[in-house]
Subunit: 128 residues, 2 copies
C-alpha cells in the first residue's frame, strides 16, 4: 500500500547544490526561511519567537540505492537506519530548531541542512 502526502509549504535555504549543504544541523549556521502555504497559516497560531520546533521535510533530490553506506564521520559501514543520510526509502528530514522570528506564514530559523526549496511536511513543538 502506498500513501500520499501534500507539502504544507517549502523551505528556502542558501544551499542550491547537495555539495553546498552542511553535513549536519548546526544552530549557528545560515538563516533559513520556512514558508507555509496560505491555506495553512492559521495552524501556526500560538507559535512564537524562541519556541523550539521539530521541522519535517522531504529531501526530494536524494536518491535511495543501498541499504548500507559508509558513515560520513567515521567511514565505518552502517545500515542507512543507523545513519542520518538523506539516501533512504522515505527521505524525510527531521530537525529541531528555534524560531528566531515568525511573521504570518514565514518562520525564520537557523541551521537547517537541506537544499533550497525543499518541500515542508510538518511543524510540531519540539519535545522538551
Amino acid at each position: 500500500m502506498k500513501y500520499q502526502f501534500q507539502p504544507i509549504g517549502h523551505i528556502k535555504t542558501p544551499y542550491n547544490t547537495i555539495d553546498e549543504c552542511p553535513r549536519n544541523i548546526n544552530k549557528n549556521a545560515a538563516p533559513c526561511h520556512i514558508f507555509i502555504k496560505e491555506e495553512y497559516i492559521d495552524g501556526l497560531f500560538g507559535l512564537n519567537s524562541g519556541d523550539p520546533i521539530l521541522v519535517l521535510y522531504w529531501m526530494d533530490k536524494a536518491k535511495f540505492s543501498h541499504l548500507t553506506l559508509p558513515s560520513r564521520k567515521t567511514g565505518e559501514i552502517k545500515g542507512i537506519f543507523a545513519l542520518r543520510t538523506p539516501q533512504r526509502p522515505n527521505p524525510i528530514g527531521a530537525a529541531v530548531v528555534t524560531i528566531e522570528d515568525i511573521i504570518e506564514g514565514e518562520i525564520l530559523v537557523r541551521g537547517l541542512d537541506c537544499l533550497n526549496m525543499t518541500p515542508l511536511l510538518d511543524i510540531k513543538p519540539a519535545m522538551k
Copy 2:
C-alpha cells in the same frame, strides 16, 4: 504536487483504539515492537540495544479537519502546528525512544503512543 511514500514496516502496540493510546510519549509505558520489512532489514546494521532512535510513523487513522484545536493539556486554543495532535495535514508521528532489544527485523522499544499496526516511515539515530 503530491508525493508518495511506502511504509518500511509497521509498529505493534497494545493500543487498538484511539481512546486507549497514551496522550504522550512516556519512556516507562508499555513495550512496543517495531517490525521492519524483510527487504529493508540490512538497513538496521549498526543499531544496538541502548541506542536512542527517532521513529517516524504515519498516523493513518487520524482525521484532519481544523487548523486550530484546544490543547489537550490546558484547553487553550492553538494552531495544529503548535500542538502535537495527530489531526494534521500530514499525520506524521515522531518519537525518540531507546532500543531495548533488536533481533533481525524486530526492535523492542517502550512508550510509543500510536495505534497498533501503525505504518512505519523511517528510523534514524536520534541527535544527541
